[in-house]
Amino acid sequence: MFEPMDDAIERIARHLRRPVHIDPALDGRVMREITALPARAGARSLGAAWRWVRRPRQFTLTPLGGLAAAAALATVVVLSRMDSGSSVPPPAESRVFQFVLVAPRATQVSLVGDFNDWDATRTPMRRARSEALWTAVVPLTPGRYHYAFLVDGSRWMADPTAPVARDEDYGTPSSVLTVGGGGS
């Protein structure tokens, strides 16, 4: 036996119209379940990182911490400055030049110039076998250099074989060496 179709539909409709009690905590439980579902690892971590980066937050810092941060910054700046301010030219393109001076009575000769900070201790010249010749070898990049010989720590000598650098400021004679580029 079957009940008539209209009655069955009416009964189903009544059943569906009944108010249903839904637990208010259901939404929260559902979302927790969804969150717990395994997601694609990359997308999840990227999304979390993006949210973390964008989320505003407050920091507290002690004065000591601030000073430490400032000191660290200063150290980085100073180190980068020291790197960029080096006087040593890049080795690329450098050519080796030999400087020679005839000074038979000298006991000590130094080569000084704007390639060695005019430092008499940096490029001591070596006495050759003839005892009168003093030589030094220096790598130089293209440019125009001033130099001189410092004999026995006090006597200045220009290179007699090189052009003279006129010096209206210091008066002491210097010489000029011009180093050309690759084509020279």
């Binding site: 000073l67 200063a74 052009p163 020279s184």
Partner: protein
Amino acid sequence: MTLAVTSTALLAAMLVAARAAAQQIDPRLERLDATTRPIVATLVDSARGAALPTEPLVQRALEGATKRAAGEVIVAAVRRLAVDLGHARDALGSTTSPAELIAGAAALRAGASPTILTELRHTRREPLTVPLAVLADLVASGVPVDSAAAAVLALAARARDADLVEFRRAVERNIALGAPPAAATAAMAASVQVNAGARQQRPGRP
């Protein structure tokens, strides 16, 4: 301490630290006396701010220290070089290399006009370090500025650096042998020009 106060203090500390770092004096300048050192350091910083090469200024100061020049003499020499470097850059252009600027400053100091430097820039595609240095050296050897400039300008377009250096040597040799500087320069310039032209016309490898 609130966030605002902390942030302000931190920013101030960073600015002070950065400024102190920027004003750090080149340790090589320790060779100058205590009065001269900060003045030279200020000149170097000014040059850096003007995008001029600072190494030549440091070297000029060190040269003075090694030569035991008085502090005011060193300051004057460094200041003068900074001015010359600026003029050289004005004449040669803002993309000029430090080596070219140094040679250009020497040429200006020798008596060459800024116009000559600008003409050289337009004449020669290769670096101008050697032509400018040769110009300065010729003038130092006694060649009149006009003669030296005319010769270098005539050679600059085609001569190699080595040709120019050899040209200068030949002129100095002839002057040492008694030739008038201007005549020696003109004669050698003509000779080098002929040689450079012959080299350019030489057929290359197939």
